[in-house]
Amino acid sequence: MLEKGAAKKVTIFVNEDTQHRFGPLTDAILTFLLHKGVSGATATRAMAGFGAHHVMHTTKIEVLTEHLPVRIEFIESAEKVDELMPALYDMVSDGVIEMQDTHVVKVANKERPAPPKAPHAELRGAARLMRIYMGESDKWEGEPLYDAIVKRLRLMDIAGATVYRGILGYGVKGHTHKGGGLFSRDLPIMISVVDNEERLRAAIDVIESMMQDGLIVLSDVDVIRLVRSRSPEEVSNANS
């Protein structure tokens, strides 16, 4: 199962009609990867290209549609790629294998369970509580600032965030936040976030770049218990 973080991306270029034993090489490679439990692989047929033989293959001219390039791509952990590479090296009798370092940002999987590792189970005991104050009408790139901040915190895997809307207040700018007409209200918003110091520091750097004017308040808290970690199903629902 693919996880977030550093990984390897392998790209294999072969000809559509290169054979491996009794069938096309592309089929053989995909079958091999599936059998070995690779989390995903994609074969794409090119519309044009040329390879080491320096013959142009293109779909535009019928006589040249033979030997069209096929590109097979998959992403796996470095260990898994190491394990697979000798066999792939052997199979690709005509073509190129390329490999690069990559970074997996998100793995969302609706049906298959994620590994049983609880996402935030390590959060126990002393932690920090961060409160972020802003106005409801503050914007970032056209969307409400509080929305943008919560999305960004999720992307950073921060343990949790809650947005509160106040009913009255004023801040450093001195103007009163209150509910006016339907379209003119600017109520105070507070986001509370609990996580460890290091992760909150990273979050503050990001929030600072998004915020024009606001206040962040940090205090020490003891996390007594986490109710439970979310099941993989809930995680993917939350992602969708």
Binding site: R131, Y133, Y164, R165, G166, I167, L168, G169, Y170, G171, V172, T176, H177, P188, M190, I204, I207, E208, S209, M211, Q212, D213, G214, L215, I216, V217, L218, S219, D220
Partner: protein, 107 residues
């Protein structure tokens, strides 16, 4: 640009129905904070809860109210006696915080 300093966070807990001189207590509290030049105050309304009198706050107009105020220890020391005088029942709590003020003038 950020300015970091040690500060105190004050929380006042009371109910929405509480009044002071004929107006909602939370409004009076915010106005008083402003008169005393306190840096900021924010009023939140809870959904339900219970407090000193062990009665559930869930009727319309009697929901729990929390006012949070962040300022220096000295300023809050000035404020707290005033708040105590205004509040009939309720709770006042303080905690130590690190306050980070963010100012990025619009480009």
């Amino acid at each position: 640009m950020r300015t970091v300093k040690n500060a105190k966070l004050l929380r006042l807990h009371f109910s929405e129905g509480d009044r002071f001189n004929g107006r909602p207590l939370y409004e009076a509290v915010v106005d008083r904070c402003r008169e005393l030049r306190i840096a900021g105050a924010t009023v939140f309304r809870g959904l339900e809860g219970y407090g000193e009198t062990a009665e559930m706050h869930k009727h319309r107009n009697d929901k729990p109210i929390v006012v949070t105020i962040v300022d220096t220890e000295d300023n809050l020391a000035r404020l707290i006696p005033e708040m105590e005088a205004m509040m009939d029942t309720g709770m006042i709590a303080t905690s130590d915080v690190e306050a980070i003020r963010i100012e990025n003038p619009a480009a």
